[in-house]
Symmetry: C2
Protein backbone atom coordinates (compact mmCIF):
# COMPACT_ATOMS: atom_id res chain seq x y z
CA UNK A 1 0.00 0.00 0.00
CA UNK A 2 2.80 2.43 0.90
CA UNK A 3 5.64 2.86 -1.55
CA UNK A 4 8.27 3.42 1.11
CA UNK A 5 7.83 -0.07 2.64
CA UNK A 6 6.89 -2.04 -0.46
CA UNK A 7 10.29 -3.66 -0.72
CA UNK A 8 10.44 -4.24 3.04
CA UNK A 9 7.18 -6.18 2.89
CA UNK A 10 8.66 -8.40 0.18
CA UNK A 11 11.65 -9.08 2.43
CA UNK A 12 9.18 -9.88 5.21
CA UNK A 13 7.43 -12.46 3.03
CA UNK A 14 10.70 -14.19 2.21
CA UNK A 15 11.78 -14.18 5.87
CA UNK A 16 8.44 -15.51 7.10
CA UNK A 17 8.76 -18.55 4.89
CA UNK A 18 12.27 -19.13 6.09
CA UNK A 19 11.31 -18.73 9.75
CA UNK A 20 8.51 -21.26 9.62
CA UNK A 21 11.07 -23.28 7.87
CA UNK A 22 11.32 -26.45 5.90
CA UNK A 23 11.65 -28.40 9.16
CA UNK A 24 8.27 -29.95 8.87
CA UNK A 25 6.29 -30.20 5.64
CA UNK A 26 2.84 -30.36 7.26
CA UNK A 27 3.48 -27.43 9.58
CA UNK A 28 4.94 -25.43 6.73
CA UNK A 29 2.00 -26.29 4.52
CA UNK A 30 -0.45 -25.25 7.22
CA UNK A 31 1.36 -22.01 7.92
CA UNK A 32 2.06 -21.09 4.30
CA UNK A 33 -1.53 -21.80 3.49
CA UNK A 34 -2.33 -18.86 5.73
CA UNK A 35 0.65 -16.66 4.87
CA UNK A 36 -0.35 -16.99 1.22
CA UNK A 37 -4.03 -16.36 1.71
CA UNK A 38 -3.66 -12.76 0.70
CA UNK A 39 -3.59 -11.04 4.07
CA UNK A 40 -2.95 -7.38 3.52
CA UNK A 41 0.03 -7.36 5.86
CA UNK A 42 -1.50 -4.43 7.68
CA UNK A 43 0.11 -5.36 11.02
CA UNK A 44 3.68 -5.57 9.76
CA UNK A 45 3.15 -2.43 7.67
CA UNK A 46 2.20 -0.54 10.80
CA UNK A 47 5.18 -1.86 12.76
CA UNK A 48 7.61 -0.97 9.97
CA UNK A 49 6.11 2.51 9.67
CA UNK A 50 6.33 3.04 13.44
CA UNK A 51 9.97 1.93 13.26
CA UNK A 52 10.71 4.43 10.52
CA UNK A 53 8.72 7.14 12.31
CA UNK A 54 10.68 6.70 15.53
CA UNK A 55 14.21 5.67 14.59
CA UNK A 56 17.10 7.96 13.67
CA UNK A 57 17.15 8.73 9.97
CA UNK A 58 14.04 6.55 9.53
CA UNK A 59 16.33 3.52 9.60
CA UNK A 60 14.84 0.01 9.79
CA UNK A 61 17.04 -2.30 11.87
CA UNK A 62 17.09 -6.10 11.65
CA UNK A 63 15.35 -6.13 15.04
CA UNK A 64 12.52 -3.97 13.70
CA UNK A 65 12.09 -6.35 10.78
CA UNK A 66 12.15 -9.35 13.07
CA UNK A 67 9.54 -7.78 15.32
CA UNK A 68 7.23 -7.26 12.32
CA UNK A 69 7.75 -10.91 11.34
CA UNK A 70 7.13 -12.17 14.89
CA UNK A 71 3.90 -10.17 15.08
CA UNK A 72 2.67 -11.70 11.83
CA UNK A 73 3.55 -15.19 13.11
CA UNK A 74 1.67 -14.61 16.38
CA UNK A 75 -1.30 -13.28 14.43
CA UNK A 76 -1.27 -16.33 12.15
CA UNK A 77 -1.00 -18.68 15.15
CA UNK A 78 -4.00 -17.02 16.75
CA UNK A 79 -6.00 -17.36 13.50
CA UNK A 80 -5.23 -21.09 13.41
CA UNK A 81 -6.54 -21.60 16.94
CA UNK A 82 -9.46 -19.20 16.42
CA UNK A 83 -10.68 -21.27 13.51
CA UNK A 84 -10.66 -24.39 15.68
CA UNK A 85 -12.43 -22.54 18.49
CA UNK A 86 -15.02 -20.94 16.22
CA UNK A 87 -15.52 -23.95 13.93
CA UNK A 88 -14.74 -21.64 11.05
CA UNK A 89 -14.36 -23.30 7.66
CA UNK A 90 -13.53 -20.38 5.42
CA UNK A 91 -11.06 -17.56 5.85
CA UNK A 92 -10.03 -15.02 3.26
CA UNK A 93 -11.99 -17.00 0.70
CA UNK A 94 -10.10 -20.26 0.97
CA UNK A 95 -10.53 -23.26 3.28
CA UNK A 96 -9.14 -22.82 6.78
CA UNK A 97 -6.39 -25.12 8.01
CA UNK A 98 -8.78 -26.98 10.30
CA UNK A 99 -11.15 -27.72 7.42
CA UNK A 100 -8.44 -28.41 4.82
CA UNK A 101 -6.24 -30.46 7.13
CA UNK A 102 -7.94 -31.11 10.48
CA UNK A 103 -8.34 -29.68 13.96
CA UNK A 104 -5.31 -31.54 15.26
CA UNK A 105 -3.00 -30.10 12.64
CA UNK A 106 -4.47 -26.65 13.22
CA UNK A 107 -3.83 -26.90 16.99
CA UNK A 108 -0.32 -28.20 16.42
CA UNK A 109 0.58 -25.71 13.74
CA UNK A 110 -0.68 -22.90 15.98
CA UNK A 111 1.39 -24.21 18.89
CA UNK A 112 4.39 -24.47 16.63
CA UNK A 113 4.02 -20.87 15.44
CA UNK A 114 3.47 -19.53 18.98
CA UNK A 115 6.60 -21.41 20.02
CA UNK A 116 8.60 -20.11 17.06
CA UNK A 117 7.51 -16.59 17.90
CA UNK A 118 8.65 -17.00 21.53
CA UNK A 119 11.99 -18.27 20.32
CA UNK A 120 12.57 -15.43 17.85
CA UNK A 121 11.30 -12.98 20.43
CA UNK A 122 13.86 -14.14 23.02
CA UNK A 123 16.52 -13.74 20.37
CA UNK A 124 15.72 -10.06 19.96
CA UNK A 125 17.74 -9.84 23.18
CA UNK A 126 15.49 -7.18 24.66
CA UNK A 127 13.72 -8.30 27.83
CA UNK A 128 11.33 -5.36 27.79
CA UNK A 129 10.11 -6.35 24.34
CA UNK A 130 9.86 -10.02 25.38
CA UNK A 131 7.69 -9.03 28.33
CA UNK A 132 5.37 -6.72 26.45
CA UNK A 133 4.75 -9.21 23.63
CA UNK A 134 4.34 -12.19 25.99
CA UNK A 135 1.62 -10.24 27.74
CA UNK A 136 -0.26 -10.03 24.44
CA UNK A 137 -0.51 -13.78 24.08
CA UNK A 138 -2.04 -13.98 27.56
CA UNK A 139 -4.49 -11.27 26.51
CA UNK A 140 -5.49 -13.32 23.46
CA UNK A 141 -6.40 -16.36 25.47
CA UNK A 142 -8.25 -14.31 28.03
CA UNK A 143 -10.11 -12.46 25.31
CA UNK A 144 -11.18 -15.68 23.65
CA UNK A 145 -12.45 -17.10 26.91
CA UNK A 146 -14.21 -13.88 27.86
CA UNK A 147 -15.87 -14.09 24.45
CA UNK A 148 -16.85 -17.73 24.83
CA UNK A 149 -18.61 -17.22 28.16
CA UNK A 150 -20.75 -14.39 26.78
CA UNK A 151 -22.01 -16.20 23.71
CA UNK A 152 -25.65 -15.29 23.07
CA UNK A 153 -25.68 -13.03 26.14
CA UNK A 154 -27.80 -10.02 25.21
CA UNK A 155 -27.00 -8.26 28.47
CA UNK A 156 -23.36 -7.48 27.66
CA UNK A 157 -22.50 -3.81 27.43
CA UNK A 158 -20.63 -1.94 24.73
CA UNK A 159 -17.83 -1.43 27.27
CA UNK A 160 -17.59 -5.16 27.75
CA UNK A 161 -17.52 -5.58 23.95
CA UNK A 162 -14.74 -3.00 23.59
CA UNK A 163 -12.80 -4.71 26.36
CA UNK A 164 -13.05 -8.09 24.60
CA UNK A 165 -11.99 -6.46 21.34
CA UNK A 166 -8.95 -5.01 23.06
CA UNK A 167 -7.81 -8.45 24.22
CA UNK A 168 -8.65 -10.08 20.93
CA UNK A 169 -7.14 -7.60 18.47
CA UNK A 170 -5.94 -4.28 19.80
CA UNK A 171 -3.54 -5.63 22.42
CA UNK A 172 -1.19 -7.12 19.82
CA UNK A 173 -1.18 -3.98 17.70
CA UNK A 174 -0.68 -1.69 20.70
CA UNK A 175 2.13 -3.81 22.15
CA UNK A 176 3.94 -4.21 18.86
CA UNK A 177 3.75 -0.50 18.06
CA UNK A 178 5.25 0.20 21.48
CA UNK A 179 7.87 -2.51 21.01
CA UNK A 180 8.85 -0.99 17.67
CA UNK A 181 9.37 2.36 19.39
CA UNK A 182 11.36 0.63 22.17
CA UNK A 183 13.66 -0.91 19.56
CA UNK A 184 14.21 2.62 18.20
CA UNK A 185 15.21 3.76 21.71
CA UNK A 186 12.37 6.25 21.65
CA UNK A 187 11.44 8.09 24.85
CA UNK A 188 8.91 6.56 27.25
CA UNK A 189 6.44 9.24 26.22
CA UNK A 190 6.78 8.43 22.52
CA UNK A 191 6.51 4.70 23.30
CA UNK A 192 3.22 5.32 25.07
CA UNK A 193 1.89 7.49 22.26
CA UNK A 194 2.50 4.72 19.78
CA UNK A 195 1.01 2.17 22.18
CA UNK A 196 -2.20 4.22 22.21
CA UNK A 197 -2.05 4.74 18.46
CA UNK A 198 -1.94 0.95 18.00
CA UNK A 199 -4.62 0.34 20.61
CA UNK A 200 -7.20 2.66 19.07
CA UNK A 201 -6.37 1.56 15.55
CA UNK A 202 -6.77 -2.07 16.61
CA UNK A 203 -10.13 -1.34 18.20
CA UNK A 204 -11.33 0.49 15.07
CA UNK A 205 -10.11 -2.42 12.99
CA UNK A 206 -12.04 -4.97 15.05
CA UNK A 207 -15.25 -2.92 15.10
CA UNK A 208 -15.12 -2.57 11.33
CA UNK A 209 -14.48 -6.29 10.94
CA UNK A 210 -17.56 -6.86 13.06
CA UNK A 211 -19.62 -4.48 10.92
CA UNK A 212 -18.47 -6.31 7.78
CA UNK A 213 -19.61 -9.58 9.36
CA UNK A 214 -23.13 -8.13 9.22
CA UNK A 215 -23.05 -6.10 6.01
CA UNK A 216 -20.36 -7.80 3.99
CA UNK A 217 -20.81 -10.44 1.39
CA UNK A 218 -18.64 -13.47 0.89
CA UNK A 219 -16.62 -11.85 -1.88
CA UNK A 220 -15.40 -8.87 0.11
CA UNK A 221 -14.90 -10.66 3.38
CA UNK A 222 -13.52 -13.99 2.27
CA UNK A 223 -15.92 -15.56 4.74
CA UNK A 224 -19.71 -15.91 4.94
CA UNK A 225 -21.74 -13.09 6.54
CA UNK A 226 -23.26 -13.60 9.96
CA UNK A 227 -20.61 -16.01 11.20
CA UNK A 228 -20.22 -14.08 14.46
CA UNK A 229 -23.97 -14.21 15.00
CA UNK A 230 -24.05 -17.92 14.31
CA UNK A 231 -21.35 -18.46 16.93
CA UNK A 232 -23.20 -16.26 19.40
CA UNK A 233 -20.47 -13.64 19.33
CA UNK A 234 -22.56 -10.48 19.80
CA UNK A 235 -20.77 -7.47 18.33
CA UNK A 236 -21.31 -3.71 18.15
CA UNK A 237 -23.92 -3.51 15.35
CA UNK A 238 -26.16 -6.07 17.06
CA UNK A 239 -25.63 -4.68 20.56
CA UNK A 240 -26.67 -1.21 19.39
CA UNK A 241 -29.57 -2.64 17.38
CA UNK A 242 -30.92 -4.55 20.38
CA UNK A 243 -31.99 -1.24 21.94
CA UNK A 244 -34.30 -0.55 19.01
CA UNK A 245 -35.56 -3.97 18.11
CA UNK A 246 -37.17 -6.38 20.62
CA UNK A 247 -37.52 -9.12 17.98
CA UNK A 248 -33.74 -9.40 17.86
CA UNK A 249 -33.72 -10.43 21.53
CA UNK A 250 -35.93 -13.38 20.69
CA UNK A 251 -33.71 -14.50 17.83
CA UNK A 252 -30.59 -14.33 19.99
CA UNK A 253 -32.32 -16.09 22.86
CA UNK A 254 -33.22 -19.03 20.69
CA UNK A 255 -29.60 -18.92 19.44
CA UNK A 256 -30.64 -18.41 15.79
CA UNK A 257 -31.66 -22.02 15.70
CA UNK A 258 -34.57 -21.79 13.31
CA UNK A 259 -33.91 -21.80 9.61
CA UNK A 260 -33.42 -18.28 8.21
CA UNK A 261 -32.84 -16.73 11.65
CA UNK A 262 -29.37 -15.41 10.75
CA UNK A 263 -30.57 -13.77 7.56
CA UNK A 264 -33.60 -12.34 9.36
CA UNK A 265 -31.41 -10.94 12.15
CA UNK A 266 -29.11 -9.30 9.59
CA UNK A 267 -32.10 -7.63 7.93
CA UNK A 268 -33.41 -6.43 11.29
CA UNK A 269 -30.02 -4.97 12.23
CA UNK A 270 -29.79 -3.19 8.87
CA UNK A 271 -33.15 -1.54 9.57
CA UNK A 272 -31.90 0.01 12.81
CA UNK A 273 -29.21 2.60 13.50
CA UNK A 274 -26.98 -0.20 14.84
CA UNK A 275 -24.57 -0.20 11.91
CA UNK A 276 -24.30 3.60 11.88
CA UNK A 277 -23.67 3.67 15.63
CA UNK A 278 -20.97 1.01 15.25
CA UNK A 279 -19.40 3.06 12.44
CA UNK A 280 -19.43 6.11 14.71
CA UNK A 281 -17.69 4.10 17.42
CA UNK A 282 -15.04 2.96 14.93
CA UNK A 283 -14.60 6.54 13.74
CA UNK A 284 -14.04 7.69 17.32
CA UNK A 285 -11.21 5.20 17.68
CA UNK A 286 -9.72 6.17 14.34
CA UNK A 287 -9.67 9.78 15.52
CA UNK A 288 -8.17 8.77 18.86
CA UNK A 289 -5.42 6.84 17.07
CA UNK A 290 -4.51 9.86 14.93
CA UNK A 291 -4.71 12.16 17.96
CA UNK A 292 -1.87 10.19 19.54
CA UNK A 293 0.60 10.80 16.74
CA UNK A 294 -0.55 14.30 15.85
CA UNK A 295 2.42 15.99 17.46
CA UNK A 296 5.06 13.55 16.21
CA UNK A 297 7.68 15.03 13.93
CA UNK A 298 5.85 15.28 10.67
CA UNK A 299 7.69 12.84 8.44
CA UNK A 300 6.54 10.55 5.66
CA UNK A 301 6.09 7.59 8.01
CA UNK A 302 3.87 9.49 10.43
CA UNK A 303 1.84 10.70 7.44
CA UNK A 304 1.49 7.14 6.19
CA UNK A 305 0.33 6.01 9.63
CA UNK A 306 -2.35 8.69 9.57
CA UNK A 307 -3.41 7.59 6.09
CA UNK A 308 -3.55 4.03 7.34
CA UNK A 309 -5.98 5.01 10.07
CA UNK A 310 -8.22 6.58 7.44
CA UNK A 311 -7.84 3.56 5.19
CA UNK A 312 -9.21 1.33 7.94
CA UNK A 313 -12.44 3.27 8.14
CA UNK A 314 -12.71 3.46 4.37
CA UNK A 315 -13.15 -0.29 4.20
CA UNK A 316 -16.79 0.31 5.03
CA UNK A 317 -17.61 3.69 3.53
Amino acid sequence: MFAQIQQDLQILDVNLKQMVGPRHPILSAAAEHLFHSGGKRIRPSIILLVAKATNNQAKLTNEHRRLAEITEIIHTASLLHDDVIDDCNTRRGSGTVNSKFNNKIAVLAGDFLFAQSSWYLANLNNLEVVKIISKVITDFAEGEVAQSVTYFDTSISIDNYVNKSFHKTASLLAASCKASAILSNASQKTQNKFYNYGKHLGLAFQIIDDILDITGDYKNMGKPAGLDLKNGNLTAPLLFALNECPTLHKLVEREFEESGDIQYAIELIKNTNGIQQAKDLAQEHVQASIQNIKYQKNNQSVNDLKLLSHYIINRIT
Copy 2:
Protein backbone atom coordinates in the same frame (compact mmCIF):
# COMPACT_ATOMS: atom_id res chain seq x y z
CA MET B 1 8.89 -38.37 47.77
CA PHE B 2 11.96 -36.56 49.11
CA ALA B 3 11.83 -35.09 52.57
CA GLN B 4 14.11 -32.16 51.76
CA ILE B 5 11.74 -30.70 49.16
CA GLN B 6 8.39 -31.74 50.67
CA GLN B 7 7.64 -28.27 51.91
CA ASP B 8 8.90 -26.68 48.70
CA LEU B 9 6.44 -28.75 46.69
CA GLN B 10 3.61 -27.48 48.89
CA ILE B 11 4.72 -23.92 48.21
CA LEU B 12 4.78 -24.81 44.50
CA ASP B 13 1.16 -26.00 44.65
CA VAL B 14 0.03 -22.79 46.28
CA ASN B 15 1.96 -20.67 43.77
CA LEU B 16 0.66 -22.61 40.78
CA LYS B 17 -2.91 -21.86 41.74
CA GLN B 18 -2.07 -18.22 42.21
CA MET B 19 -0.27 -17.99 38.88
CA VAL B 20 -3.13 -19.43 36.87
CA GLY B 21 -5.14 -17.03 38.87
CA PRO B 22 -8.73 -16.24 39.55
CA ARG B 23 -8.80 -14.09 36.43
CA HIS B 24 -10.97 -16.47 34.58
CA PRO B 25 -13.12 -19.13 36.21
CA ILE B 26 -13.26 -21.48 33.23
CA LEU B 27 -9.53 -21.32 32.57
CA SER B 28 -8.81 -21.80 36.25
CA ALA B 29 -11.22 -24.72 36.41
CA ALA B 30 -9.60 -26.34 33.41
CA ALA B 31 -6.09 -25.84 34.73
CA GLU B 32 -6.83 -26.77 38.32
CA HIS B 33 -8.61 -29.85 37.12
CA LEU B 34 -5.23 -30.97 35.85
CA PHE B 35 -3.10 -29.54 38.64
CA HIS B 36 -5.28 -31.46 41.09
CA SER B 37 -5.33 -34.70 39.20
CA GLY B 38 -2.60 -36.13 41.36
CA GLY B 39 0.41 -35.70 39.14
CA LYS B 40 3.48 -36.75 41.07
CA ARG B 41 5.23 -33.42 40.57
CA ILE B 42 8.24 -35.32 39.29
CA ARG B 43 9.33 -32.49 37.00
CA PRO B 44 9.36 -29.74 39.61
CA SER B 45 10.98 -32.12 42.10
CA ILE B 46 13.84 -32.68 39.68
CA ILE B 47 14.26 -28.96 39.02
CA LEU B 48 14.27 -28.11 42.73
CA LEU B 49 16.80 -30.87 43.41
CA VAL B 50 19.05 -29.67 40.57
CA ALA B 51 18.81 -26.16 42.04
CA LYS B 52 19.86 -27.41 45.46
CA ALA B 53 22.58 -29.61 43.95
CA THR B 54 24.12 -26.71 42.04
CA ASN B 55 23.57 -23.59 44.13
CA ASN B 56 25.75 -22.31 46.97
CA GLN B 57 24.72 -23.78 50.29
CA ALA B 58 21.96 -25.73 48.52
CA LYS B 59 19.91 -22.56 48.51
CA LEU B 60 16.65 -22.37 46.54
CA THR B 61 16.10 -18.89 45.10
CA ASN B 62 12.75 -17.42 44.07
CA GLU B 63 13.90 -17.79 40.47
CA HIS B 64 14.49 -21.52 40.94
CA ARG B 65 11.00 -21.89 42.37
CA ARG B 66 9.50 -19.89 39.55
CA LEU B 67 11.33 -22.04 37.00
CA ALA B 68 9.87 -25.20 38.57
CA GLU B 69 6.41 -23.62 38.43
CA ILE B 70 6.83 -22.51 34.83
CA THR B 71 7.91 -26.00 33.82
CA GLU B 72 4.83 -27.52 35.43
CA ILE B 73 2.63 -24.97 33.65
CA ILE B 74 4.22 -25.74 30.27
CA HIS B 75 3.80 -29.46 30.94
CA THR B 76 0.14 -28.96 31.84
CA ALA B 77 -0.44 -26.84 28.72
CA SER B 78 1.07 -29.55 26.56
CA LEU B 79 -1.17 -32.18 28.20
CA LEU B 80 -4.25 -30.07 27.42
CA HIS B 81 -3.33 -29.85 23.75
CA ASP B 82 -2.16 -33.48 23.61
CA ASP B 83 -5.55 -34.62 24.75
CA VAL B 84 -7.21 -32.69 21.96
CA ILE B 85 -4.73 -34.03 19.45
CA ASP B 86 -4.95 -37.64 20.66
CA ASP B 87 -8.72 -37.62 21.34
CA CYS B 88 -7.90 -38.81 24.83
CA ASN B 89 -10.82 -38.95 27.28
CA THR B 90 -9.14 -40.11 30.46
CA ARG B 91 -5.97 -38.96 32.14
CA ARG B 92 -4.79 -39.94 35.60
CA GLY B 93 -8.10 -41.68 36.20
CA SER B 94 -10.35 -38.66 35.74
CA GLY B 95 -11.94 -37.11 32.67
CA THR B 96 -9.66 -34.92 30.56
CA VAL B 97 -10.46 -31.27 30.05
CA ASN B 98 -11.53 -31.85 26.46
CA SER B 99 -14.01 -34.52 27.51
CA LYS B 100 -15.22 -32.76 30.67
CA PHE B 101 -15.39 -29.30 29.11
CA ASN B 102 -14.79 -29.40 25.35
CA ASN B 103 -12.06 -29.18 22.74
CA LYS B 104 -12.37 -25.43 22.46
CA ILE B 105 -11.83 -24.86 26.16
CA ALA B 106 -8.91 -27.28 26.11
CA VAL B 107 -7.26 -25.41 23.22
CA LEU B 108 -7.86 -22.07 24.90
CA ALA B 109 -6.76 -23.15 28.36
CA GLY B 110 -3.59 -24.62 26.83
CA ASP B 111 -2.92 -21.37 24.97
CA PHE B 112 -3.53 -19.42 28.12
CA LEU B 113 -1.07 -21.55 30.10
CA PHE B 114 1.58 -21.41 27.37
CA ALA B 115 1.14 -17.64 27.37
CA GLN B 116 1.32 -17.40 31.14
CA SER B 117 4.51 -19.44 31.09
CA SER B 118 6.07 -17.11 28.48
CA TRP B 119 5.17 -14.15 30.61
CA TYR B 120 6.59 -15.57 33.84
CA LEU B 121 9.61 -16.78 31.91
CA ALA B 122 10.36 -13.30 30.59
CA ASN B 123 10.07 -12.02 34.14
CA LEU B 124 12.87 -14.32 35.31
CA ASN B 125 15.00 -11.62 33.66
CA ASN B 126 17.46 -14.12 32.25
CA LEU B 127 17.59 -14.16 28.46
CA GLU B 128 19.58 -17.39 28.33
CA VAL B 129 16.84 -19.17 30.29
CA VAL B 130 14.12 -17.59 28.13
CA LYS B 131 15.86 -18.89 25.02
CA ILE B 132 16.46 -22.43 26.24
CA ILE B 133 12.87 -22.88 27.48
CA SER B 134 11.32 -21.27 24.38
CA LYS B 135 13.19 -23.80 22.31
CA VAL B 136 11.44 -26.60 24.22
CA ILE B 137 7.99 -25.45 23.19
CA THR B 138 9.10 -25.55 19.56
CA ASP B 139 10.40 -29.08 20.17
CA PHE B 140 7.02 -30.12 21.56
CA ALA B 141 5.12 -29.06 18.51
CA GLU B 142 7.69 -30.60 16.20
CA GLY B 143 7.59 -33.84 18.19
CA GLU B 144 3.83 -34.02 18.01
CA VAL B 145 3.84 -33.47 14.27
CA ALA B 146 6.65 -35.96 13.72
CA GLN B 147 4.54 -38.41 15.69
CA SER B 148 1.36 -37.69 13.77
CA VAL B 149 2.93 -38.31 10.37
CA THR B 150 4.27 -41.72 11.42
CA TYR B 151 0.99 -43.08 12.81
CA PHE B 152 0.69 -46.79 11.94
CA ASP B 153 4.03 -46.69 10.13
CA THR B 154 5.73 -50.02 10.89
CA SER B 155 8.93 -48.96 9.13
CA ILE B 156 10.03 -46.39 11.71
CA SER B 157 13.27 -47.19 13.48
CA ILE B 158 14.05 -47.20 17.20
CA ASP B 159 16.29 -44.18 16.55
CA ASN B 160 13.34 -42.35 15.06
CA TYR B 161 11.25 -43.35 18.09
CA VAL B 162 13.91 -42.10 20.51
CA ASN B 163 14.15 -38.86 18.58
CA LYS B 164 10.39 -38.33 18.79
CA SER B 165 10.52 -39.09 22.52
CA PHE B 166 13.21 -36.49 22.97
CA HIS B 167 11.04 -33.79 21.43
CA LYS B 168 7.93 -34.95 23.22
CA THR B 169 9.26 -35.41 26.76
CA ALA B 170 12.99 -35.25 27.28
CA SER B 171 13.59 -31.82 25.79
CA LEU B 172 11.63 -30.03 28.55
CA LEU B 173 13.33 -31.96 31.32
CA ALA B 174 16.79 -31.46 29.81
CA ALA B 175 16.27 -27.74 29.23
CA SER B 176 14.79 -27.10 32.65
CA CYS B 177 17.58 -28.99 34.43
CA LYS B 178 20.08 -26.87 32.53
CA ALA B 179 18.11 -23.69 33.25
CA SER B 180 18.09 -24.54 36.95
CA ALA B 181 21.89 -24.86 36.86
CA ILE B 182 22.13 -21.57 34.92
CA LEU B 183 20.11 -19.83 37.64
CA SER B 184 22.63 -21.19 40.17
CA ASN B 185 25.44 -19.65 38.11
CA ALA B 186 26.94 -23.11 37.64
CA SER B 187 29.78 -23.57 35.15
CA GLN B 188 29.02 -24.35 31.51
CA LYS B 189 30.33 -27.88 32.09
CA THR B 190 27.97 -28.45 35.04
CA GLN B 191 25.07 -26.97 33.07
CA ASN B 192 25.70 -29.47 30.28
CA LYS B 193 25.97 -32.38 32.69
CA PHE B 194 22.57 -31.57 34.12
CA TYR B 195 21.16 -31.06 30.62
CA ASN B 196 22.23 -34.61 29.78
CA TYR B 197 20.97 -35.91 33.12
CA GLY B 198 17.53 -34.47 32.31
CA LYS B 199 17.63 -35.66 28.73
CA HIS B 200 18.34 -39.31 29.55
CA LEU B 201 15.96 -39.32 32.50
CA GLY B 202 13.24 -37.88 30.25
CA LEU B 203 13.87 -40.54 27.61
CA ALA B 204 13.73 -43.31 30.24
CA PHE B 205 10.53 -41.79 31.58
CA GLN B 206 8.87 -41.77 28.16
CA ILE B 207 9.96 -45.32 27.31
CA ILE B 208 8.54 -46.58 30.60
CA ASP B 209 5.31 -44.68 30.01
CA ASP B 210 5.11 -46.42 26.65
CA ILE B 211 5.72 -49.83 28.26
CA LEU B 212 2.96 -49.12 30.78
CA ASP B 213 0.63 -48.33 27.89
CA ILE B 214 1.04 -51.97 26.86
CA THR B 215 1.32 -53.73 30.22
CA GLY B 216 -0.47 -51.41 32.59
CA ASP B 217 -4.01 -51.61 33.67
CA TYR B 218 -6.37 -48.70 34.10
CA LYS B 219 -5.82 -48.52 37.84
CA ASN B 220 -2.08 -47.98 37.74
CA MET B 221 -2.04 -45.79 34.68
CA GLY B 222 -5.11 -43.67 35.14
CA LYS B 223 -5.88 -44.31 31.49
CA PRO B 224 -6.87 -47.37 29.45
CA ALA B 225 -4.16 -49.68 28.12
CA GLY B 226 -3.36 -49.69 24.43
CA LEU B 227 -4.27 -46.04 23.84
CA ASP B 228 -1.02 -45.42 21.94
CA LEU B 229 -1.71 -48.41 19.72
CA LYS B 230 -5.23 -47.25 19.07
CA ASN B 231 -3.91 -43.86 17.97
CA GLY B 232 -1.28 -45.51 15.80
CA ASN B 233 1.55 -44.21 17.94
CA LEU B 234 4.00 -47.10 17.63
CA THR B 235 6.30 -47.22 20.65
CA ALA B 236 9.34 -49.23 21.73
CA PRO B 237 7.65 -52.46 22.92
CA LEU B 238 5.74 -52.82 19.65
CA LEU B 239 8.65 -51.77 17.45
CA PHE B 240 10.88 -54.42 19.06
CA ALA B 241 8.08 -57.00 18.93
CA LEU B 242 7.52 -56.42 15.19
CA ASN B 243 10.85 -58.16 14.50
CA GLU B 244 9.58 -61.35 16.06
CA CYS B 245 5.94 -61.38 15.12
CA PRO B 246 4.68 -60.97 11.53
CA THR B 247 1.04 -61.08 12.66
CA LEU B 248 1.55 -57.75 14.42
CA HIS B 249 2.38 -56.15 11.07
CA LYS B 250 -1.03 -57.15 9.79
CA LEU B 251 -2.82 -55.73 12.82
CA VAL B 252 -0.99 -52.42 12.52
CA GLU B 253 -1.56 -52.26 8.78
CA ARG B 254 -5.29 -52.59 9.22
CA GLU B 255 -4.97 -49.93 11.95
CA PHE B 256 -6.42 -52.24 14.66
CA GLU B 257 -9.80 -51.71 13.08
CA GLU B 258 -11.35 -55.08 13.80
CA SER B 259 -12.92 -55.72 17.16
CA GLY B 260 -10.44 -57.13 19.67
CA ASP B 261 -7.39 -56.10 17.61
CA ILE B 262 -5.89 -53.96 20.37
CA GLN B 263 -6.21 -56.67 22.99
CA TYR B 264 -4.83 -59.25 20.56
CA ALA B 265 -1.86 -56.99 19.72
CA ILE B 266 -1.11 -56.50 23.41
CA GLU B 267 -1.11 -60.28 23.95
CA LEU B 268 1.19 -60.78 20.96
CA ILE B 269 3.63 -58.15 22.22
CA LYS B 270 3.65 -59.74 25.67
CA ASN B 271 4.65 -63.06 24.09
CA THR B 272 7.76 -61.55 22.49
CA ASN B 273 10.89 -60.02 23.99
CA GLY B 274 9.59 -56.58 23.01
CA ILE B 275 8.77 -55.45 26.52
CA GLN B 276 12.08 -56.72 27.91
CA GLN B 277 14.03 -55.01 25.13
CA ALA B 278 12.15 -51.76 25.81
CA LYS B 279 12.96 -52.13 29.53
CA ASP B 280 16.62 -52.62 28.63
CA LEU B 281 16.53 -49.44 26.55
CA ALA B 282 14.97 -47.51 29.45
CA GLN B 283 17.59 -48.96 31.80
CA GLU B 284 20.36 -47.76 29.48
CA HIS B 285 19.00 -44.22 29.67
CA VAL B 286 18.62 -44.40 33.45
CA GLN B 287 22.28 -45.42 33.67
CA ALA B 288 23.28 -42.65 31.28
CA SER B 289 21.40 -40.09 33.39
CA ILE B 290 23.21 -41.19 36.57
CA GLN B 291 26.54 -41.30 34.73
CA ASN B 292 26.20 -37.56 34.08
CA ILE B 293 25.96 -36.58 37.74
CA LYS B 294 28.32 -39.24 39.08
CA TYR B 295 31.16 -36.85 39.67
CA GLN B 296 29.08 -34.02 41.11
CA LYS B 297 29.89 -33.09 44.69
CA ASN B 298 28.19 -35.84 46.62
CA ASN B 299 25.46 -34.01 48.50
CA GLN B 300 21.94 -35.01 49.52
CA SER B 301 20.39 -33.45 46.42
CA VAL B 302 22.65 -35.33 44.02
CA ASN B 303 21.86 -38.52 45.92
CA ASP B 304 18.16 -37.83 45.65
CA LEU B 305 18.51 -37.25 41.90
CA LYS B 306 20.21 -40.63 41.59
CA LEU B 307 17.42 -42.23 43.63
CA LEU B 308 14.91 -40.53 41.38
CA SER B 309 16.48 -42.13 38.31
CA HIS B 310 16.12 -45.53 39.96
CA TYR B 311 12.57 -44.74 41.01
CA ILE B 312 11.62 -44.13 37.38
CA ILE B 313 12.66 -47.63 36.35
CA ASN B 314 11.04 -49.17 39.43
CA ARG B 315 7.62 -48.11 38.15
CA ILE B 316 7.73 -51.19 35.96
CA THR B 317 9.73 -53.74 37.93
